[in-house]
């Protein structure tokens, strides 16, 4: 297309070159619009440090997306890259630590793992004749499961020598950015110059024509998916080295970010079209958005809305550009695809660009906190998908308002690397202190260390931070809470019976600690048997489903311990009229819904933490720490068993 555009464009000169490049690449113009909008809206955006941050934050998505580009250009899809990335990182960490394999060999093993997953995808598609969507969906689940099996659900520390991949060169140039650029160049080389790359376009454009032109399409597809697996492995290693730990739950949902990046970059899901440069731009758009919205203190909930709108607008922009560019070229038999981008096309284009800017601007205007003159505190929560953390957030906001402080709350969506990004953004925008509720205590270490380096005090909330300095830890004791829950349930059951345990999301510290505390407490009651122990991911619906299944196999259960109230409520729902009568359910957290159920009798007890109190105390300590006042190294927020008798004191 490029050559034709050159021909049809009559106006020469410097400005028209820029105009042409932008008109020719919708994604690039969207990126430019975004960068300009962000620079105007936030003074912290256009600094070298922040731009490097954006690069680091784009790296993992970009590397995954490069691999996915191969697949999409050949008219396939790969949903497994996020899981494969996590599996490769887990294999590396496990073999280097637990299995004692030399680090170099461990890296090779990790890469081979990625390639093997891609190979299986390709074989299922080529020879098993599975649709790519199905084959890679299966691999998404298999790879995730294997990484949990290998790691037994817990993060594994990453070998130090490999973790340098997450560091900086010369103290300022981040290695992930270098890896991203290198992989991007490799992608461009593969797509543009190699046999397999050129074959991808032919296979994606018309598979049958490619086959009848002598391309061994089946074998090529295996290579294509193996390449995608290889890139996923590299992305997984970069991700884990940033966090200095391999997380079995890492990179969840990243496949969708990667696909979005590829499509924003101008590739067609129908195949035959796509470029490495476009994919890089797509990944940068996503990273600039997340970074900018952090800097602008846009509410965590609105961020997701804005990201969705911008993805739609960016692709729309590209579609409009194409329409404006090619006219109705396919119409008349001889009409050459001469794009004579009319004035109307350009207008529409400008309109769409304006819309992007307006959306970002409006949302940040309505959401941004008060003026910059007051003290700024950043708070990164592990998730806002759970009432406990929402209460923590509300407590913190109430306290901040009272103290006249500008508090920015971000939601890491249970993703350790997103949390690392948020801490990085807080650090570079110069907040006076940071409150972090870690997704994972090990993985949050590097982010906190760089805040330490910038002399910004960090307050850990609810969960601790390993291998980095925190001014204070504000937490309720999960292990003690687990013990209390065991005592309460055992008392109610009279020291004997068979019980079921609903576990939280595998690999989270809350699940591990509460589970450990409960097991510890249960040791005192040898007549209580745990007949089943199944994960329900802290989720009410899953709690309902899992409990429904367990009732089938264990009808004689008399007690249930759920590692949070949400799952307990799901279990109570599954038990129906039995809940509170023949089966006692004990939850954890003391959320409003949980307390209501305790009052109604469907839950026997909940171990109440006081999340709002926790949030308040965290902010109070953050303010003190920012003023260099002394703070206690740990602040314990009381934990209590709530039953029907004392529920009135808590609600």
């Amino acid at each position: 297309m490029a050559t034709e555009t050159l021909k049809s464009d009559t106006g020469a000169g410097g400005t028209s070159v820029i105009r042409r490049v932008l008109l020719d690449n919708g994604a690039l113009s969207a990126l430019v619009v975004l960068v300009v909008a962000m620079s105007l809206l936030s003074g912290d955006f256009l600094t070298t440090q922040n731009l490097l941050n954006v690069g680091v934050q784009a790296a993992v998505t970009a590397i995954l997306a490069f691999g996915v580009t191969f697949v999409i250009v050949s008219a396939g899809i790969d949903l497994s890259v996020g899981s494969v990335a996590a599996l490769s990182a887990t294999v590396l960490a496990w073999s280097a630590t637990s299995a004692g394999v030399p680090v170099v060999l461990a890296v090779v093993l990790a890469i081979v793992t990625g390639i093997a997953c891609g190979f299986v995808n390709g074989a299922l598609i080529s020879y098993g004749k599975l649709p790519p969507f199905i084959a890679t969906l299966a691999m998404l689940s298999i790879a995730r499961g294997l990484s949990l099996v290998i790691s037994q659900g817990s993060p594994i520390a990453f070998p130090d020598s490999v973790s340098r991949l997450g560091d900086t060169l010369g103290g300022w140039l981040p290695v992930p950015v270098l890896v991203m650029i290198a992989m991007g160049l490799v992608t461009a080389l593969i797509l543009g110059r190699t046999f397999i790359g050129r074959s991808m376009y032919a296979i994606g454009g018309n598979e049958e024509a490619a086959r009848l032109s002598g391309l061994r399409v089946k074998r090529q597809k295996i290579v294509i998916y193996a390449l995608s697996g290889l890139f996923a492995a590299v992305a997984g290693i970069v991700l884990a080295s940033r966090l200095v730990s391999a997380q079995p739950q890492a990179a969840q949902g990243y496949e969708l970010d990667a696909i979005a990046a590829v499509v924003i970059g101008g590739a067609s899901l129908a195949g035959g079209v796509g470029k490495a440069s476009g994919t890089l731009i797509g990944a940068l758009i996503l990273a600039v958005l997340r970074n900018g919205l952090n800097l602008l203190s846009v509410s965590a909930f609105w961020q997701q809305v804005v990201i969705g709108v911008v993805i739609a607008l960016a692709v729309l922009l590209d579609t409009l550009r194409r329409k404006a560019g090619s006219g109705a070229a396919s119409s008349a038999g001889t009409a050459p695809g001469a794009p004579g981008s009319g004035r109307r096309g350009a207008l529409k284009f400008a309109g769409a660009a304006l819309a992007v800017a307006l959306v970002v601007g409006a949302v940040s205007y309505f959401n941004s906190g008060s003026s910059g003159s007051t003290k700024k505190i950043g708070m990164s929560l592990s998730t806002l998908n759970n009432p406990f953390f929402v209460q923590m957030k509300e407590g913190a906001q109430a306290e901040a308002e009272k103290a006249g402080i500008d508090l920015t709350v971000t939601d890491a969506q249970n993703d350790a690397s997103q949390q690392a990004n948020q801490l990085q953004n807080f650090t570079s925008s110069g907040v006076s202190s940071i409150i972090v509720n870690p997704v994972d205590s090990d993985a949050v270490g590097p982010g906190v260390r760089s805040a330490n380096k910038a002399d910004i005090p960090v307050i850990a909330a609810d969960r601790g931070v390993n291998k980095a300095d925190t001014a204070t830890l504000v937490a309720s004791d999960n292990v003690a809470g687990g013990k209390l829950a065991a005592d309460a349930l055992a008392d109610k059951l009279g020291g004997k019976g068979s019980i079921v345990i609903l576990q939280g999301t595998a690999g989270t510290s809350a699940s591990r600690e509460r589970g450990a505390g409960f097991a510890e407490g249960l040791k005192a009651y040898p007549d209580i048997k745990v007949v089943a122990k199944q994960p329900a991911d802290f989720d009410r619906t899953k709690g309902l489903d899992v409990m429904t299944n367990l009732i089938q196999s264990h009808p004689g259960v008399t007690g249930v311990f759920a590692e949070n109230d949400e799952m307990a409520l799901g279990a109570a729902k599954a038990l129906g009229s039995k809940a509170g009568k023949s089966v006692s359910v004990v939850g954890f957290d003391g959320t409003p819904d949980g307390l209501k159920a305790v009052e109604a009798g469907t839950l026997y007890a909940s171990v109440a933490q006081q999340p709002a109190e926790l949030g308040k105390i965290a902010v109070r300590n953050a303010v003190k720490a920012a003023k260099d006042e002394k703070v206690a190294s740990t602040v314990k927020v009381p934990v209590k068993v709530v039953t029907r008798e004392n529920v009135a004191d808590f609600s």
């Binding site: 079209v273 119409s331 050459p336 695809g337």
Partner: protein, 523 residues
């Protein structure tokens, strides 16, 4: 085919009139100052080379495009056709070359798609089936209303499209090359239906590249050239005059075959069999020779060609190229032995439509142009430019997407990619289908050049005059077997057709192969 009856000279009433129509696309004037009219109960043929503007014209009548200038009058009133709904309201129905049918719905559902008869808000299946059966009976096609469209052959699909048009109560029926993919028997059937419709007072706009059909079916002919309506002549105008009007020059000879001396056998096929599809196929093709493979659609010609090329597997038999045995079902092996296939479905199997001329030309040579993983792009570009020039591909540059080329130029690209690969035996499957007269002759010239330089050509074609005009030998297939072989001098239309409809007896007492009246063509 019967000769046209004496046409009524009076024009009772006019259904449609187009005056001074103009349509431009960026950089191209597709139509300029086009006049056309259609009367009740006539077949008005639109004639023109590919790219002359026929498709653009009918797309404006069906509401796909809007004219820039000019008027469209329906029964004397000026109308605007802004979309398919407008066309439907005016009683204009269009049957495109690519059918608009949903493969997994039934015939009845397709006919009434979007307008299913309803009772209490639910689709009234019984009434829909009954109405559809009535329409199908009127069209004279033996298809159950609840058959899945996927199961039907091309000829029947076309009848379903006609039934659909009738259900819309169409007064104007536009048919875009309806005979391009039909066998001559099916063409006769179609003509009978068209004549019936004409008697019922429907006005029919008929597009065809087969000149002999004009005299057989048409009343008047409007010739388009380079986007202009050149002339309007009666359908009885001699073919050579029509050709001259169409191309603006006279074509000396339609089939300029020059027969060089033949050499050794380049391709030898022995006892090739694929159970239920073709049986015991044996033949040779020599250097310098054009062997025609004739037969009805569904006789197994395309299937044999694909098996020889390695695109499909076979159960028994051998394929040798220059004395070397070819591996079964292995396209790259066939390719490196020097066989090339120009498939019948140019767009679906021959080309990557959204890739450039250069990329398409370089597809076959991609591997040989690769050194240690890297493709020699510069060499590819030079080679592509050279071959495109040699074949006279009309394009704005080798970067142009092949989707925007005309059919003839697309076909040159498909052939060109094999020439670049130094192919010795070229299998051409329907090489000139849907290609205009001028481009056809260019392709015939190309075949001459190939055989003159010692290449061998196996040509499958449903266009009988083409087979007779270009082949040095004609093999006729019927029901999956070779029914006979005719040297060029003995090959006449009658002789070929007699073999094509025969029932060849297997040498051994095999059960007769399945007789699929309208077998699937290729894939």
């Amino acid at each position: 085919m019967t000769a046209p009856e004496e046409q009524p000279t009076t024009a009772p009433d006019e259904l449609l009139r187009i005056e001074g129509l103009r349509k431009t696309f960026p950089g191209v004037v597709a139509l300029d100052n086009v006049d056309f009219d259609l009367r009740r109960g006539e077949v008005h043929v639109l004639l023109g080379e590919n790219g002359a503007g026929k498709s653009t014209l009918i797309k404006m009548l069906s509401g796909a495009y809007r004219p820039d200038h000019g008027r469209i009058l329906a029964e004397g009133r000026e109308v605007r056709i802004d979309g398919a709904q407008d066309a439907e309201r005016l009683g204009i129905a269009t049957i495109y070359q690519e059918f608009n049918l949903v493969p997994d719905l039934t015939v009845a559902e397709n006919i009434y798609l979007g307008r299913q008869p309803r009772r209490y808000g639910l689709v009234d299946h019984r009434r829909m089936r009954q109405d559809a059966a009535e329409l199908l009976r009127r069209v004279g096609v033996d298809v159950r209303p609840d058959a899945k469209v996927r199961e039907l052959g091309i000829a029947r699909l076309q009848m379903v499209e006609i039934a659909k048009a009738l259900s819309l109560d169409a007064r104007v029926l536009i048919m875009d090359e309806p005979t391009a993919v039909l066998t001559s028997e099916e063409v006769d059937k179609l003509f009978a239906i068209v004549r019936q419709l004409r008697e019922d007072g429907v006005g029919i706009v008929f597009i065809t590249h087969h000149l002999e059909e004009i005299a057989a079916l048409g009343d008047r002919v409007t010739v388009l050239r380079d986007g202009r309506s050149i002339d309007q002549v009666p359908a009885s105008t001699p073919e050579d005059e029509l050709v001259q009007l169409m191309v603006g020059r006279s074509i000396e000879q339609q089939y300029p075959r020059e027969r060089p001396d033949t050499g050794d056998a380049l391709l030898s096929v022995r006892g090739l069999t694929r159970d239920g599809v073709f049986h015991d196929i044996s033949f040779d093709v020599h250097a310098g020779e054009v062997v025609g493979l004739a037969g009805l659609v569904g006789a197994g010609r395309t299937e044999v060609a694909r098996a020889v090329f390695g695109a499909d597997p076979y159960d028994a038999g051998t394929v040798d190229v220059r004395g070397e045995r070819l591996a079964r079902h292995d396209v790259p092996a066939a390719m490196s032995a020097g066989i090339g296939l120009v498939p019948e479905d140019r767009k679906g199997q021959g080309l990557v439509l959204d890739a450039s001329v250069q990329e398409n030309l370089g597809l076959v040579t991609l591997r040989s142009a690769t050194r240690s993983g890297l493709v020699d792009l510069k060499g590819q570009r030079t080679a592509a430019a050279r071959i495109a020039k040699q074949l006279g591909v009309r394009m704005s540059g080798i970067g142009q997407h092949v989707r925007t080329l005309s059919g003839g130029n697309q076909q040159k690209v498909v052939i060109g990619k094999w020439l670049l690969a130094d192919t010795r035996v070229l299998i051409l499957d329907e090489p000139t289908r849907g290609i205009d007269v001028g481009a056809k002759v260019e392709i015939y010239q190309l075949i001459n050049e190939l055989t003159a330089s010692g290449h061998a050509v196996l040509m499958i074609s449903s266009d009988l005059p083409e087979v007779l005009g270009m082949s040095d030998r004609v093999l006729v297939m019927a029901q999956g077997r070779i029914a006979g072989e005719l040297p060029a001098e003995e090959a006449t239309q009658d002789a070929v057709m007699a073999l094509a409809v025969s029932t060849p007896t297997p040498p051994h007492a095999h059960p007769a192969p399945k007789n699929e009246e309208e077998g699937p063509r290729g894939h």
